[in-house]
C-alpha cells in the first residue's frame, strides 16, 4: 500500500496531466467535459484519501522528491492539519468541477480556462502538502499565477484587466512577505525543511516579526483588511466556478499557511500575538460585511462577504493564540476547532453562493442586482439552494454557519480566565464586533436574496431567465446538503476535527459522539450545549403541526388577486425597493463613519420641470488613505528613477564606479 502522501502526490500529478491534456485537446469540442470530468474524478479520489487519513488518524507520512533545489529536494508531508485542509480543497474542487461540467459549456473561450483550472487545483494541493520553505513558496507562487491566469480569462471585459493587475501586484507583495518570513524562520543556517524550522529556537522579536510578515503575506491572500483590496476585484472577475474556488478554497489555503507557520513552526505564541490577530480579525469582519452591504454587484457582494468570514476565522484564531499563550489548552482547542469548523463551513456555503451567482449570470447575463428580481419563479431550484446558502452564511440555526459562530462565542465566553487585563476586556469587545458582523451579514443576505430572487423582474433579461443545467444543480444541491448536515450533526464534524486540534494545540475538545441526542457540549453541559438536530426536529414538528391543524380545522381556501400595497398599485417594477434603497437605513447608521457617505438631494422648486435628483457620495477610505498615497509615492519614485535611462555614458560609468567604491567601503568598515 502506498503511503497517503504519495497518493496525494499522484493525484496532483494527474491534475498536472489534465493540464497537458487540456492544452493538447484545446481544439476539440469535447475538451470541456473531458477536463472537468477528469478533475472531478481526481478530486474525489484525493478527497477520499484525505478524509480517510483525517478520520482514521493514520499519522503523518512524508515523501521526498528529488526535484527542486539540488541539495534539498522537495519535501512533502501529510499530517492531520494538512489532511483537513486537503479535504477542504478537494471538496471545493470536486464541487467546482461538477459545476464546471455544466457551466463550462457556456464559455466562449474555453481554451483560456481549461488548462489553468487543473493547474490551479494542483497548486492549492501542493501548498498544503509542502514540507519545506522552498517548495512551499514555489507552490504558493504557482497557485497565485494559475489563479491570476483564470482571473484574466475574460480579459476584454472592462474592469478585469485592472483586477488582474491589482491582483498580481498584491500577490507578489504577499509572496515577498512570505519569502522574508521563511528567511527569518530558517535563519542563517538555512534549514529550509519545516522539521528543522520547528525544532529551531526563535527569539521573541524574531517571532513577532514573523507574525507580522505572515499577517502581511497570508493575510493579503486571505483578504485581511486593509490588504483586501484585490479580492473584491479579482474574485468576481474569474468565471463563477473559479470565483467559488478562489473565495471558498484559496483563502483557506492562505489560512492554512498562517496556521502552519504561527501555530506549528513558530513554537509557543505570546499573548500579544493574540491581541494583534484579534483586533485585525474583528475589524476585518465588520468592515468586510459593511462593504458587502453597500455592494449591488452580486459576485462582488459575495467576495466582500468572504472578507467578513475571513475576519471571523482570524478572530477565532486570535482567541486560540491568546488561550494557547496562557496555557489554557481546552479553551484554545475550542477556539481553534471553531475556526476550523468555520473554514469548512465557509468553503461550503461560499462555493454554493458563487455557484448560484454563476447560475444567475448564465441565465440572465446580469450580475447587477438592480437589474434582477423575481427569479424565484423562473429558477425555483437555484433560488432554493441559494436560500439555503444565505441562511447558512447568516449564521442562523439549524444550519452550519450558526454552529461555528456559536462555538466562537463559547470561546469568547472563556475569556475571563485569562490573566492579562487587556485580553480580558478586549475579548468581549471583539465578541461584540462579531455579533455586529453576524447581524449585518443577515441583513446583507436578506438583501442579496430579496433583491435578486424576490419581487418582480427589473429587466427583460430577468424576465426571460430559465433554470440552469443539471450538473450545476447537482453541485449546488450537494453543497446545500452538506451545509444542512454539518448544521444538524455538528458533533461528528467536531470529532473529525479533533486530531487536528490535538496535533496543533496539544489538546482537543471533549468527544461529542457520546453525548445524548447528538448534542454538542464544548466544555460541560451546565455551561452550554446546543443540539441542531433537536432544534430542527422541533421546528419541523411545530410547523407541520400548525399546518396540519390549520388546514384540517380552519380554512384552506386561497384566492389570487392583485397585490394590495395599501391600494397604491405600483405601475412599474422599477418602483420596487432597490438594493441601494434597501440598505439606506444601514448606510445612514454606519456609512457616515465608515464610508463618509453624504446624501445630496436636489429638489426642484414647485413649477420647475427638472427631475429631482438624489446622489450619495461614498468613499473607500482604504483606497483613498492608504493605496492612493502609496501608488503616488511609487509613481514619484519611478519618475525619478526614470531619469536614469537618459544619462551619458560617462555618468553611467561614474555610477558603476561609485557603487563599487561604496561596496568596498562597506566591506572595509564591517570587517
Amino acid at each position: 500500500m502506498i503511503p497517503a502522501v504519495a497518493q496525494q502526490i499522484w493525484c496532483v500529478a494527474a491534475l498536472l496531466g489534465t493540464t497537458a491534456l487540456a492544452i493538447a485537446s484545446s481544439r476539440s469540442r469535447r475538451s470541456t467535459a473531458l477536463v472537468y470530468g477528469a478533475t472531478f474524478a481526481i478530486s474525489l479520489v484525493a478527497l477520499a484519501g484525505a478524509l480517510f487519513s483525517l478520520i482514521a488518524r493514520t499519522g503523518a507520512t512524508e515523501l521526498t522528491l528529488p526535484i527542486g533545489l539540488p541539495w534539498l529536494g522537495s519535501h512533502f508531508r501529510l499530517d492531520a492539519l494538512a489532511a483537513f485542509f486537503l479535504v477542504v480543497v478537494n471538496l471545493g474542487a470536486a464541487a467546482a468541477s461538477l459545476y464546471g461540467l455544466g457551466y463550462g459549456s457556456h464559455e466562449s473561450m474555453p481554451q483560456r480556462i481549461l488548462p489553468f483550472f487543473p493547474a490551479f487545483l494542483a497548486g492549492m494541493n501542493l501548498v498544503v502538502l509542502a514540507d519545506d520553505a522552498f517548495t512551499y513558496l514555489l507552490c504558493w507562487e504557482f497557485m497565485s499565477l494559475a489563479s491570476w491566469a483564470l482571473v484574466m480569462a475574460h480579459h476584454r471585459e472592462p474592469d478585469n484587466a485592472r483586477a488582474g493587475y491589482v491582483y498580481l501586484v498584491m500577490a507578489s507583495f504577499g509572496t515577498l512577505a512570505l519569502l522574508l518570513a521563511f528567511g527569518l524562520l530558517s535563519g542563517a543556517g538555512g534549514g529550509y525543511g519545516f522539521a528543522a524550522i520547528r525544532s529551531a529556537q526563535h527569539t521573541p522579536s524574531e517571532a513577532a516579526l514573523v507574525l507580522a510578515l505572515m499577517l502581511l503575506g497570508a493575510g493579503s491572500k486571505a483578504g485581511l483588511v486593509p490588504l483586501h483590496v484585490w479580492l473584491p476585484l479579482a474574485h468576481p472577475a474569474a468565471p463563477s466556478h473559479v470565483s467559488a474556488l478562489m473565495s471558498g478554497v484559496m483563502t483557506k489555503v492562505a489560512i492554512y499557511g498562517f496556521i502552519r507557520v504561527v501555530f506549528d513552526l513558530l513554537g509557543p505564541p505570546s499573548w500579544s500575538a493574540g491581541v494583534v490577530v484579534l483586533i485585525l480579525g474583528g475589524a476585518t469582519a465588520v468592515i468586510g460585511i459593511l462593504y458587502a452591504l453597500m455592494e449591488n454587484d452580486l459576485k462582488r457582494l459575495l467576495a466582500y462577504s468572504t472578507i467578513e468570514n475571513i475576519g471571523v476565522i482570524f478572530t477565532s484564531l486570535g482567541l486560540a493564540l491568546a488561550f494557547q499563550a496562557n496555557g489554557f489548552g481546552l479553551a484554545a482547542a475550542l477556539a481553534f476547532t471553531a475556526s476550523l469548523f468555520h473554514v469548512l463551513n465557509h468553503s461550503f456555503f461560499k462555493s454554493l453562493l458563487f455557484f448560484g451567482a454563476g447560475a444567475v449570470l448564465t441565465s440572465t447575463g446580469e450580475r447587477d442586482m438592480e437589474k434582477l428580481g423575481g427569479l424565484i419563479h423562473r429558477m425555483p431550484l437555484t433560488s432554493f439552494v441559494f436560500l439555503v446558502g444565505c441562511v447558512a452564511i447568516s449564521a442562523l440555526p439549524p444550519f452550519n454557519g450558526f454552529v461555528s459562530e456559536w462555538l466562537i462565542f463559547q470561546a469568547v465566553l472563556q475569556s475571563p480566565d485569562l490573566p492579562q487585563w487587556v485580553l480580558k476586556i478586549m475579548v468581549p469587545a471583539v465578541g461584540a464586533l462579531l455579533a455586529l458582523a453576524a447581524a449585518l451579514a443577515a441583513a446583507c443576505f436578506v438583501k442579496a436574496f430579496g433583491i435578486t430572487f424576490l419581487g418582480r423582474a427589473r429587466s427583460p433579461a430577468a424576465e426571460a431567465a430559465g433554470e440552469v443545467d443539471r450538473y450545476s444543480l447537482a453541485a449546488m444541491f450537494s453543497l446545500a446538503a452538506l451545509c444542512f448536515l454539518a448544521g444538524i450533526l455538528p458533533g461528528l464534524v467536531i470529532d473529525a476535527l479533533s486530531p487536528v486540534a490535538q496535533a496543533v494545540i496539544g489538546h482537543r475538545m471533549p468527544v461529542q459522539a457520546n453525548d445524548a441526542w447528538l448534542s454538542i457540549v464544548p466544555i460541560e453541559e451546565s455551561r452550554s450545549s446546543y443540539n441542531g438536530l433537536l432544534v430542527f426536529a422541533f421546528i419541523t414538528a411545530a410547523a407541520s403541526l400548525a399546518v396540519y391543524f390549520i388546514h384540517r380545522f380552519a380554512s384552506r381556501a386561497i384566492r389570487r388577486g392583485p397585490a394590495w400595497g395599501c391600494g397604491f398599485a405600483d405601475p412599474t417594477p422599477a418602483a420596487q425597493y432597490s438594493g441601494a434603497s434597501f440598505v439606506q437605513p444601514i448606510r445612514r447608521v454606519f456609512g457616515t463613519l465608515v464610508f463618509q457617505a453624504r446624501e445630496h438631494v436636489d429638489m426642484p422648486a414647485p413649477g420647475d420641470l427638472r427631475p429631482a435628483r438624489f446622489k450619495v457620495d461614498m468613499h473607500d477610505l482604504v483606497w483613498e488613505r492608504l493605496y492612493t498615497p502609496l501608488t503616488e509615492a511609487v509613481w514619484f519614485l519611478a519618475d525619478r528613477l526614470n531619469q536614469l535611462q537618459f544619462l551619458t555614458i560617462r555618468r553611467y560609468l561614474s555610477l558603476v564606479f561609485a557603487t563599487l567604491v561604496t561596496l568596498l567601503l562597506v566591506l572595509a568598515i564591517w570587517s
Binding site: 487585563w421 487587556v422 476586556i425 478586549m426 469587545a429 447608521v589 463613519l593
Partner: protein, 220 residues
C-alpha cells in the same frame, strides 16, 4: 454584611459611570441639566455610603456639599441662565452621538485596564472606586470636548469634578479642608464661567464657543 456594603458602593459608583454616559447621549439642554443633578445626587449618595462604611463623619459634609451645591444650586442657576439668555435648547454636538459613545466605551475600558493593573495590591473597594472615578473624569472631559455649547461644557467640567470627589472618598485620603477648598474653587469657577457666558452671549448672540474662534479669525 461586608459583601452587601461592597455591592452598594459598587452599584452607586457604577451608576455614576452610567449617568456620565447618559450625559453623552443627551442632546437637549434641560435634560442634560437634570441628568447632571442626578449625577450629583448619586455622587452624594455614594459619598454618604462611604462615610457610613468607613465611619468617617467628615465625608458626610462632602456629601452634603455635593447635594446642596451640585444637585440643587448649580442646576437651578444654570436653568435660570438658560432661560434668561434664551439659549437654543438643542445641544450642537461637534461629533455625532454614536462615535462619542464608542469613544466613551474605549475610555472606560482604558481606565479599567490602567487602574486594575496599577492598583493590584490595594483594597478591592478602593480599586474599583478608582477605576470608576477615572472613567467619570475621562467621560467628563469627553463631554467638554465633544460639545460646542458653553453650558454643556460647564456641565462636563462639573461632572469631571464629581469624578475627582469619588476618587478622593474611595481612597480614604482627602482631608476635609482640601475637600471644602475644592468645592469652593469649583463654585468660583462656576461663577467665572457664568459671567463669561453672559459676556459671550452679549457680544455674539450665541453661546456656541465656535463663535469665539470666528472672532479670532481662525475659522472662515
Amino acid at each position: 454584611m461586608h459583601n452587601l456594603a461592597f455591592d452598594i458602593a459598587h452599584l452607586l459608583a457604577g451608576g455614576l459611570v452610567l449617568i456620565s454616559f447618559m450625559m453623552l447621549y443627551q442632546d437637549r439642554l434641560y435634560a442634560l441639566l437634570n441628568i447632571f443633578a442626578l449625577h450629583a445626587v448619586v455622587l452624594a449618595a455614594s459619598v454618604a455610603w462611604q462615610a457610613f462604611i468607613q465611619n468617617a463623619p467628615h465625608l458626610y459634609v462632602t456629601a452634603a456639599i455635593a447635594l446642596v451645591f451640585k444637585a440643587i444650586v448649580i442646576p437651578v442657576a444654570l436653568h435660570r441662565i438658560i432661560k434668561q439668555l434664551g439659549i437654543h435648547r438643542d445641544i450642537e454636538t461637534a461629533v455625532s452621538i454614536g462615535p462619542t459613545m464608542l469613544a466613551g466605551m474605549g475610555l472606560v475600558a482604558l481606565s479599567m485596564v490602567l487602574m486594575l493593573r496599577v492598583t493590584g495590591a490595594a483594597d478591592p473597594l478602593a480599586r474599583e472606586d478608582l477605576a470608576f472615578a477615572l472613567s467619570v473624569v475621562l467621560l467628563g472631559l469627553l463631554v467638554m470636548v465633544t460639545r460646542r455649547n458653553a453650558v454643556s461644557q460647564v456641565v462636563g467640567f462639573m461632572s469631571l469634578e464629581n469624578g475627582l470627589v469619588l476618587a478622593a472618598t474611595g481612597a480614604k485620603g482627602m482631608p476635609l479642608v482640601v475637600e471644602i477648598s475644592v468645592a469652593f474653587s469649583i463654585l468660583i469657577a462656576f461663577i467665572v464661567i457664568g459671567v463669561f457666558l453672559f459676556r459671550i452671549r452679549e457680544r455674539f448672540d450665541t453661546v456656541d464657543v465656535g463663535a469665539l474662534d470666528e472672532f479670532r479669525g481662525e475659522r472662515r
